[in-house]
């Protein structure tokens, strides 16, 4: 007798059911600044920003099956675009920042993408890493443009041409900017959800599962990978642009490959086999790292142990594990 386990594919969820958890989640996110203190709100804003980055990253890892070890580059391109727009153009409008970051990321990812999508697996990872290190070293060395290791400062931007952060910056970050980030986050999540749920998204998953077969249902693999690379980079770049005002400045640290490692870390922490995994992972990782740094000088050790234990025992990440437990609980 066949002992093959038949598993139900998890890809289809009716929009209604998705809304079933998305709406309460959004309500909580909207209400939170009224409940928790400013610091927690700002921290959550960081988490949401990284959520966007991880969401973009996961379009490649989770949906296209490409492990990039160079996404710090696109995060950095977004962040530095904003900083350079401030430095050279005197722009303060957040919307212009976002547009600028998107344009810059499209240009960079389009070029990098042409090179990278020719490869898969480890070579893809190394190539993305090498290219990101090129950008890192430029940011590091061309200090008269980029400020070198000091980085570039970015003042509080003007949101929607209305709200400025003059005066109490903390209050600005914890309210107006938080909601702005939340707004962009919701839009990004929706857009990404549409993309992965689109026929294009399905095509990416097909490429991930079986490159040859995908070609034989008429999908031009490299072109699709390139588009995915572009979208992925732009999302991460957008996150970089949102992150700069929150942080106040950008330094080459965010271009370094170890930051790419953190993006991979958070995505796997949440679970790269599900749509929400990277978001959850980014938020949790943000808390994890912040509190680890705050409470012990051995924060790297702590994070490393978490990562190794995670990969050893919970390869499906937080969301995957939760889903499994939930399914088991329901089955009883």
């Amino acid at each position: 007798m066949s002992t093959v386990t038949t598993t139900v594919a998890l890809e289809h969820r009716s929009p209604v059911r998705t809304l079933g958890w998305a709406v309460p989640a959004l309500v909580i996110l909207l209400a939170l600044p009224f409940v928790v203190d400013q610091y927690q709100t700002i921290l959550l804003a960081y988490g949401l920003v990284m959520g966007i980055a991880a969401l973009g990253f996961n379009l490649l890892l989770g949906y296209t099956g490409l492990l990039s070890f160079g996404h710090s580059a696109y995060f950095g391109v977004g962040a530095y675009t904003v900083a350079l727009m401030v430095k050279y153009l005197g722009v303060t409008s957040m919307e212009l920042f976002l547009v600028g970051a998107i344009v810059a990321c499209v240009l960079v990812t389009a070029v990098f993408g042409i090179a990278c999508v020719r490869y898969t697996r480890i070579f893809f990872g190394i190539l993305t890493m090498a290219l990101s290190q090129v950008l890192w070293s430029l940011a590091f060395k061309f200090f008269w443009v980029t400020g070198g290791t000091d980085g570039l400062r970015v003042p509080t931007p003007t949101l929607l041409g209305l709200v400025t952060g003059k005066g109490d910056k903390i209050a600005f970050l914890a309210t107006a900017y938080y909601y702005y980030v939340l707004g962009v986050f919701v839009i990004c999540t929706l857009v990404m959800w549409v993309i992965v749920s689109s026929p294009f998204g399905r095509a990416l998953q097909a490429i991930r599962d079986n490159e040859v077969r995908a070609e034989f249902v008429g999908i031009q693999i490299r072109q699709y990978r390139w588009v995915a690379f572009l979208v992925s980079g732009v999302f991460t770049g957008l996150a970089g642009a949102l992150w700069v005002p929150l942080n106040g400045l950008t330094t080459p640290d965010i271009m370094h490959w170890t930051f790419s490692g953190e993006i991979v870390f958070m995505t796997v922490l949440g679970g790269f086999r599900s749509f929400t995994g990277p978001i959850i992972g980014a938020i949790v990782f943000n808390y994890l790292k912040t509190y680890a740094v705050g409470y012990t000088v051995y924060w790297q050790l702590l994070l490393g142990v978490v990562l190794v234990v995670l990969v050893l025992s919970l390869p499906t990440g937080i969301v995957g594990t939760a889903e499994r437990l939930w399914a088991r609980w329901r089955a009883r």
């Binding site: 038949t6 139900v8 929009p15 689109s198 026929p199 095509a203 079986n210 070609e215 034989f216 249902v217």
Partner: protein, 259 residues
């Protein structure tokens, strides 16, 4: 039988050549498929059957010769273009999207056929006609009960059928099936072939089946092409092939050796 009335030629190869080093896997082969026929490609291991299909479907590039499909030279075309022209195939070792559901596997082919996989901003799930069609395809292949299961978890026979269903969903004019029953148990063999055969015949799709199993070959094919060492050894109806001495000696074994 359709053999009496010559149908128009759908696909033709002219002096098609593929070499691997010194070895000529396909050696100047002239091969034809006519509209609406079900054809079987037979031959021993290494005879060049799969290589021929790989050349026509675009997985491999020909070293010389031409491939003419519906009057157009497709020799230099990409896989994508050939599929658009109407050439589809399945694989001997099943090739599925294991993490997607059976329904998704088929729907993907439909989306691709309709050019919708280029759309980033539309919900695949909301496209009812595609899902209805995908369900209909699964129904044709008697797999609608498996629609929601992930392809990776299906039984071997079901995977074989799904592989063909994906190719079928591309609405090809010409369908290559590379050993559709290999790897499945004897019991499942006939139902699978019945299903496939009824689908292609009812849709009047030309099909070329690579097959080892003589039962399958003789009961389902209109015409049989036998290959040997990269060339075509014989071409004819099942009855002709059954009586062909060369085929018998090289492929099935002569009465002498049986003794």
């Amino acid at each position: 039988m359709s053999a009496s009335v010559p149908s128009p030629v759908l696909l033709e190869t002219r002096k098609l050549l593929k070499q691997f080093g010194e070895f000529r896997a396909v050696d100047h082969v002239d091969f034809r498929v006519q509209e609406g026929e079900v054809l079987a490609l037979i031959g021993s291991n290494g005879a060049g059957k799969t290589t021929l299909v790989n050349l026509i479907s675009g997985l491999l590039r020909a070293d010389a010769g031409q491939i003419i499909f519906r009057g157009a030279d497709v020799t230099a075309q990409t896989v994508h273009q050939r599929i658009a022209a109407g050439i589809a195939r399945s694989f001997q070792l099943v090739n599925l999207f294991d993490q997607l559901s059976a329904l998704d596997n088929v729907a993907l082919a439909i989306f691709s056929r309709q050019g919708k996989t280029r759309k980033l901003f539309s919900l695949a799930d909301a496209d009812r006609p595609v899902w209805d069609e995908a369900m209909a395809v699964l129904h044709l292949f008697r797999m609608e009960s498996k629609a929601r299961l992930s392809a990776g978890g299906l039984a071997q026979g079901e995977r074989k059928l799904l592989d063909v269903a994906i190719a079928y969903a591309l609405k090809p004019r010409l369908l290559f099936l590379d050993e559709p029953t290999s790897g499945v148990s004897t019991r499942e063999k006939a139902p699978i072939m019945d299903t496939i055969s009824s689908v292609v015949r009812s849709e009047r799709i030309s099909a070329a089946i690579i097959e080892h199993d003589m039962d399958v070959v003789f009961s389902y094919a209109d015409r049989i092409v036998a290959m040997h060492q990269g060339t075509i050894l014989a071409d004819g109806t099942p009855d002709e092939i059954r009586r062909n001495e060369r085929v018998l000696t090289t492929l099935i074994g002569t009465p002498e050796t049986r003794g």
